[in-house]
């Protein structure tokens, strides 16, 4: 994008002034190079979001923003139900509550290297991944509804997790307000055999090394030290969330005109929060959040089982589990007034700063861990929510490196086998059912994650705590 199209607020804030049907400005947080490299469609999509009814303050885009559908990926927008605000199925996306969890293994890199190859094979065979994979868990109708209400708490009660995990999961592992009766039979059928599966695309399970500590004090509180080994899982609500997104996108697109909503893009399909379809979507979407929380808890349990085999006695304590595709009701201060807002984050991570009351007591004084997935070659980051993120973007930060190149272009440029061999030569073992899938997710197809997190820190969204480098990557 041409930086001249924006009003530059400061080094890392770029403002699109309201024009046409925009109700509020749009603000993109990024450095100048990231702005120059960003697709023009991010500008259009961020401006389109600013046209939706009841939007508060601004439509935001994070430093990893890229062309999405309706909302940009990396988009954040808050809506006030008292001002005709909407909830948007497109603003949450198909992979409802897609997110990341990181677990501490208590191991050092030197402990892991002797078994790296056999651990990679074991994880690949024990973690169901990719299209056509089936989990070992088959839910009947009663279990399905219990899971949709109970989330990770349900998984723990069933023996697929540890009670002390719940404190380190958003919403204590159980999203309130879930309504399984708002979830269609088709969505439930799609999920029946998918609990404890990783999915595909950019979803992964990685064994990572702490490559660099950037904030000693916070790292210590998070239990991170140089050369530590951690396990990070990135996935979401699987087929259930995809089906809920599909069905409500259609229903909201068809009924928008009945609510007097003019959609600048059909993918921005939405409904008033106070409408019947809006309330049904919120009930179903919260059930899908519970599905994602349960799924990541079960995958974490499977990973623990594999690690137990190689390293008896290691417990893999959960650092944190946080989603980046959600709509959450949160109190925020706008123009001096405390208001309950419906905050949409699509490819953006909630990033509560120090002192936030919803954080567990053990983390409250340092802020929420913000887990940033990079690419399988370049590494990932752990950040901590900054106090200023509340004012900047309703306590939100980036969620990943963000794609810089289409899958189509990546396939033309790289061979999956070659990437696998090159990374193996660098000590990174990739396991996937598809070499084409590896090529589509090539490290070079992503933005520079270092630049993205530096911009997030400079913008006051979150602060860098540790950089991680991959050792093993299981991809669907």
């Amino acid at each position: 994008m041409d930086p001249a199209r924006f009003t530059r607020v400061d080094e890392t804030a770029w403002r699109i002034e309201p024009e046409g049907a925009m109700r509020v400005p749009a603000i993109i947080y990024a450095d100048e190079q990231l702005i120059r490299d960003m697709d023009d469609k991010v500008y259009v999509q961020a401006a389109n979001v600013a046209m939706l009814p009841g939007i508060v303050q601004a439509s935001y885009a994070m430093p990893d923003a890229h062309w999405g559908y309706g909302f940009p990926i990396g988009g954040v927008a808050a809506f006030d139900p008292e001002q005709g605000g909407v909830v948007s199925a497109g603003g949450v996306g198909f992979d409802i509550s897609c997110g990341v969890r990181t677990m501490l293994t208590g191991l050092k890199v030197a402990d892991l290297l002797p078994v790296q190859r056999s651990l990679a094979e074991s994880l690949f065979h024990q973690i169901p991944a990719g299209l056509g994979s089936t989990g070992a868990i088959n839910l009947d109708a009663i279990d399905m509804d219990a899971m949709l209400k109970g989330g990770a708490r349900w998984a723990v009660q069933r023996g697929w997790g540890e009670p002390h995990d719940l404190d380190r999961i958003e919403e204590s592992g159980e999203m309130a307000g879930a309504r399984p009766n708002c979830v269609s039979d088709k969505a439930k059928e799609r999920q029946r055999r998918e609990m404890g599966t990783l999915g595909s695309g950019n979803h992964y399970l990685e064994v990572q090394a702490v490559a660099e500590i950037l904030d000693e004090a916070v790292a210590k509180r998070y239990g991170l030290a140089a050369d530590d080994v951690v396990v990070t899982i990135h996935c979401g609500s699987r087929g259930l969330g995809h089906q809920i997104g599909t069905e409500f996108l259609r229903d909201m697109a068809i009924t928008a005109k009945d609510h007097g909503i003019v959609l600048p893009d059909r993918e921005l399909a939405c409904a008033p929060i106070k409408s019947e379809v809006g309330q049904q979507y919120l009930g179903a979407m919260r059930a899908a959040i519970n599905c994602a929380l349960a799924n990541r808890e079960i995958l974490g349990h499977f990973a623990r089982r594999v690690f137990q085999h190689f390293f008896p006695g290691q417990t893999l304590d959960l650092l944190f589990d946080v989603s980046h595709n959600t709509c959450k009701v949160e109190p925020h201060t706008v123009e001096g007034n405390r208001r309950e807002l419906f905050v949409h984050r699509k490819g953006a991570t909630r990033a509560f700063g120090p002192g936030h009351p919803s954080l567990p007591a053990t983390l409250r004084d340092v802020g929420q861990p913000v887990l940033i997935g990079g690419s399988m070659g370049t590494g990932s980051y752990i950040l901590s929510g900054a106090a200023s993120s509340e004012d900047k973007a309703f306590s939100s930060a980036c969620h990943g490196a963000g794609r810089a190149m289409s899958r189509h272009a990546a396939l033309r440029q790289w061979s999956g086998r070659q990437i696998q061999d090159d990374l193996a030569a660098r000590g990174i073992l990739i396991r996937s059912p598809s070499t084409r899938g590896i090529a589509e997710e090539a490290p070079g197809a992503y933005k520079d994650v270092n630049a993205v997190v530096q911009a997030a820190e400079a913008a006051g969204l979150a602060s860098r705590v540790a950089r991680l480098r991959p050792l093993i990557c299981i991809k669907g």
């Binding site: 890229h66 062309w67 056509g132 599909t246 697109a253 993918e267 070499t435």
Partner: protein, 146 residues
């Protein structure tokens, strides 16, 4: 298939780029052919390996306009792929007004043989377009979230 190769013939499909996901576009002499070819493009997101026609599945859907009907059609295929753990390689579509009936032929996914590259999540309304050009050739397209 290259865009040039597709544009030279009346029936076919292509993928077109999106930064995070994949665009599918089908072409044909009729809207039904365009929908059938769009479905082949959907399968090609997942695999380029041969998919046998050992089983058939019947589906039907409806939508208020042809564009939403195309998205509904692709979403039905995605649903059947997910719950039956199948891939499909031949499609037959009939459209009457706002109603579509379809038959698709395929086989259960064999992970080793098909090496599925990704799992389509849903057909989006981004770049969603169903139209006939001046020569009467139909096309049906949208971005698929993968």
């Amino acid at each position: 298939m290259s865009a040039a190769a597709v544009s030279a013939q009346r029936t076919g499909w292509e993928h077109f780029p999106h930064e995070a996901d994949v665009g599918v576009r089908g072409f044909g002499a009729t809207i039904e052919e365009a929908f059938q070819q769009g479905a082949l493009a959907l399968t090609a997101i997942v695999t380029t390996a041969k998919v046998e026609e050992s089983m058939s599945v019947q589906v039907k859907c409806q939508a208020p306009d042809p564009e939403l009907l195309f998205a509904e059609w692709l979403n039905l295929i995605i649903y059947e792929m997910a719950v039956r753990k199948m891939l499909f390689s031949r499609f037959s579509v009939r459209i009457h007004g706002n109603h579509l009936t379809g038959t698709m032929w395929g086989e259960p996914i064999d992970v080793a043989r098909h090496a599925p590259a990704c799992e389509p999540k849903g057909a989006t309304y981004t770049a969603l377009k169903v139209a006939a050009d001046a020569d009467g050739r139909w096309s049906a397209a949208c971005i698929v979230d993968v």
